[in-house]
Symmetry: D2
Subunit: 242 residues, 4 copies
């Protein structure tokens, strides 16, 4: 049974700036979607902010096992009720992969409870990503480290709760480090944050970035059989009172 | 330097029901405050929902190292801006001890990102609390286990992220178990959830419950020297570009 | 590709006591093996202490993706070099499922570094196991809780490092609780401890126990492609010295 | 009540090489001890390998709240029974701070269960240490990051179990990263690994390194009141059988 992937972006291709299209002809949205397209184990759809209900209708989410989220300048335009809807879906089991500047999206802050703030600059720094948990399914097939020729620097301290698994740490030529791949379990859902991916650099063409995203989608995909209520409930005594 | 404790409740003594006052003559608010009163290392104040700004003005929070939160029926009446204010304070370092039915308070859900739901019943069950991390400062002086003659049953699954430290597990005669004491680190702040304490039972008179709350307040009290910004910031390169 | 399971026991069927054979005609060894037999996704072999090299030759381990370990009275007879060999295999990626009284086996203590001690009695207590992480692959398909009519009581405090994932907590009619299913990641390997299974009680016939063991074997099975050295190594500079 | 600190080294001053004494006139042993000397809250003693029982008699350990361990070339000469003795003390509550090349000491491997291997080179690299958990007591007063002008490179992957708290990550000009400060809770004891400190470089003169070591000693110091047995024990039923 294939994993149903919904790739979300604040911009569709038509809305993307020229300098983005120069790097990713279908925009970041299309570049991320392409990582899953043509792979029999994935069924991909795209969604974006300017669509009705930000592209994330109940129907779309009903059919989504894992949602990828890329946003940057338009975080504040995502309606709060959509954030609540996505949060509820994650808690009920939908996977969520938050990409790059999505670290300060409303949905990331809502789920993690912290600011998710960090230190940053754009200087096309070389980054080297070191695998910390080589046996984790998300790191399957990834070498001990790999390089990205030019990245936006995201540096510590990254204001997140200690992740349930720290998968990778990035080194930057600018003198910084970053917890570049992190997992969080929440409710019945799984969340992965993965740092690479500014809109005018080429990281989504990197085969290791692609491999990690495919592995992460497989790992975080919801268990469709899991369908227990997530509200408090009265529970009769399991044992007789003495 | 004493720890400044603010004990918050949805009700002050005057607002408390008769059956509550029968057990705790100063209400739950007063019962929790009494745990810290007369101890030179603590300076205690109380605050409650019907006060201006829910009793949690910026001034009060400026002077609070650790906030204790007890609420039950009036969670929804706590204004969202107060929840946001408390959340921001926790992220900046203020300790937060969430008590009993506070598990579904807005502030708990806001910080943890999950529903914090559970299974429950009121049947005056005997509970036995087992210490899981005896070397944690919060468990200092607490025996391997202790009993509460009558408690409200809070049972698993408790919908929280895996805590940074699981301090205690409760056994109930009704046949249930519960992660009854949990710690979470968020931002610069520390959060403790501790399960005992319904308003008409006597758990806040239990010396081990009292010891744990005092230990927890000491452990979670903010480091006043810690005052670094918690928003993303531009960071010049630490190393020269090659 | 099937998962190669090696089920190890301190006794083979022929060495098992009569009261064990009365419950498990092929001994505990056979009872655990039966959980994997006839399942196309698993290939099962058995091994036991009185065999040459305790049944765990390099050849056997070469062909083992996950090892199940059940021991009780004969922990001290397992040769230290076999313990070292198994430890090294786990660190290189082999999965290890430690069952019941295996909690104090040399291999468990060696890997976890603690005593793995606990409180216990044999009184055929009813146990009820509550799932704490329903979305973990090992708990897939397991109900919110299930009961074992008669178990040996293993009670907290269980002297283990905080597990990387706490999957289940057990309630006992004797008034005790236990972290009954725990995961640990070590080196490239995955370790699962699962509490049920004394030799004269019937827990290995329980369908949920069986399901958990099959799920755990699948989860912990080594990634055969992962074959990086696990010793410290000289590493030339990745960047030129300035 | 002062914290009783025992600083252990494989060499005493008289045994130290000339190039070490050129940097640290009292050897590494004396340099580490000096961090605690003259501080009223600490009482310091030193111990070293060539002493009887490696300097770690039962009497010395009886009087030790926290033990600092620095070794490099002579790991294999530490007698196994001393390693076992120290392990038992840690499990009963004694703090252990493992320094620099102590990462592959027998006691570190014994307690953590992994190889504790890493990648390394000696090239007097600049290191920059970033604080990951600024609110942890061990990081109290430490700036967001600090630099060591020349360090031995210790690089990932560091083969340790995921620490209970990851306090700091190091950046190296050689292009590497390292989890440079990690905490582990084991038994009733607390373990801290801290990476800086080769014998011919000057890191133990760095005020932040010194501050972290003092904070760590305070944090890890045993609770003398904690004295519960750490072996499995028969436990009568806490509740009557029905």
């Amino acid at each position: 049974m294939s994993v149903h992937v919904t790739v979300w972006n604040e911009d569709c291709a038509a809305e993307s700036k020229e300098e983005v299209l120069a790097v990713y002809p279908r925009g970041v949205l299309g570049a991320v979607a392409a990582i899953f397209e043509g792979q029999p184990e994935f069924e991909v759809r795209t969604a974006w902010l300017s669509q009705e209900e930000a592209g994330l209708t109940e129907e779309v989410l009903d059919d989504t096992d894992v949602l990828l989220w890329w946003g940057h300048c338009k975080h504040s335009r995502v309606p709060d009720e959509i954030v609540t809807r996505v949060q509820q879906r994650v808690l009920r089991g939908m996977g969520l992969l938050v990409l790059h500047s999505g670290h300060e999206s409303k949905i990331m802050q809502r789920l993690l409870g912290t600011q998710c703030s960090l230190r940053w600059h754009e200087n096309k720094d070389k980054e080297r990503i070191f695998v910390i948990e080589p046996a984790h399914p998300i790191m399957r097939g990834v070498p001990a480290w790999f390089e990205l020729e030019a990245e936006e620097m995201y540096g510590e301290r990254f204001d997140i709760p200690a992740p349930d698994a720290l998968l990778a740490i990035g080194w930057y030529e600018s003198g910084d480090v970053f917890r570049s791949a992190c997992c969080f379990n929440m409710g019945y859902g799984k969340i992965v944050y993965f740092q690479p991916g500014p809109e005018t650099l080429r990281s989504y063409y990197n085969p290791n970035v692609q491999l990690i995203l495919r592995n992460a989608a497989r790992w975080a995909a919801r268990d469709r059989a899991l369908d227990r209520p997530l509200h408090s409930e009265f529970a009769p005594s399991l044992e007789e009172k003495r």
